[in-house]
């Protein structure tokens, strides 16, 4: 249970994660799962600089995170796992049946995406992928900050979210 939040957020580490969620959870560590960031020292340093010193940041590829998931889940400190896109989270869940809930924290405007919430824009392919996750028994909901209501995927996609 220490890995308390598995979040899709295209801004990855930013104010909502570090302050909004982090302070409420007394965050101990962040697992940033992104194949490109994991391979770039410059990108890793950029994200590390945005995190207070008492919070550890682990950078992993999707494959690497899947390999180490049990280690993260057994860590006694509260943790957040982040991916920057739906596709990475879907791949990770596909390798880790222990991940049973996914938070959509922020997927913003891009060509081909339709706005579903103030902070959620999805392409048809992303919608299908999230529906497929739910059909596998993974709870998918949208919630940008801890004080907000968690909006089930069905409400997000049907326009009942806001």
């Amino acid at each position: 249970m220490p890995l308390e939040l598995c979040r899709i957020d295209d801004r990855l580490i930013h104010g909502q994660v570090v302050l909004g969620w982090g302070q409420q959870m007394q965050l101990g560590f962040i697992v940033l799962v992104d194949d490109e960031v994991a391979e770039s020292e410059w990108e890793r340093e950029l994200y590390r600089m945005g995190v207070p010193p008492e919070v550890d940041v682990v950078f992993e590829t999707v494959k690497g995170a899947a390999t180490r998931l049990a280690e993260f889940q057994n860590d006694p400190r509260p943790g957040i796992l982040l991916t920057g896109d739906v596709e990475s989270m879907v791949r990770l869940v596909g390798m880790c049946s222990a991940l049973r809930s996914v938070n959509i924290g922020g997927i913003h405007h891009k060509n081909g995406r339709v706005q579903r919430l103030r902070y959620v824009f999805l392409s048809p392919e992303e919608e299908s992928a999230l529906r497929a996750l739910e059909s596998q028994g993974v709870a998918v909901s949208a919630r940008d900050v801890p004080g907000a209501r968690a909006i089930p995927l069905s409400d997000v996609l049907s326009g009942k979210g806001e």
Binding site: D10, L12, G15, L46, G50, G84, R118
Partner: protein
């Protein structure tokens, strides 16, 4: 906050309506708010934010960038956009005192002005009252 006759000297990029609010306050106090471009992150993804800052650096000549939070998405976007460009200065943790100093120091180029206002910004925050300090 910008009029077409004024060349922007700096960008403020912040959460919510903070940037516009800061520029508005600068304008009320000094009449110089129009030298500040403002951006909010509402609805923008990381790629769009980086592209916006890059455009302002490359095509509008912005050399001073102010952001609100060190861990914020605008700070990340600005650092990516200015990577490899030593002419651009980023100041994060901006406050009104920093911006007032910046707009009044038009004897300095924007990058030097941004560096110069950091000490003023630090000195402007203080706690007053509240009784004796806890041990």
């Amino acid at each position: 906050m910008n009029s077409p006759d004024v060349v922007p000297r700096a960008l403020i990029a912040a959460h919510g309506d903070l940037a516009a609010g800061l520029a508005s306050a600068v304008d009320r106090i000094t009449g110089r708010g129009s030298v500040l471009l403002t951006l909010t992150n509402a609805g923008l993804g990381a790629d769009e934010m980086e592209a916006t800052v890059r455009e302002l650096i490359e095509h509008d000549g912005i050399r001073a960038i102010f952001t609100d939070l060190p861990s914020g998405s605008w700070t990340m976007a600005a650092r990516r956009a200015m990577r490899g460009n030593d002419e651009v200065v980023l100041v994060t943790g901006v406050n009104l005192a920093a911006l007032l100093e910046f707009v009044m120091r038009d004897d300095l180029d924007p990058a030097a002005g941004a560096r110069a206002c950091v000490d003023r910004a630090r000195a402007a925050i203080a706690a007053v009252g509240g009784g004796p300090r806890a041990a």
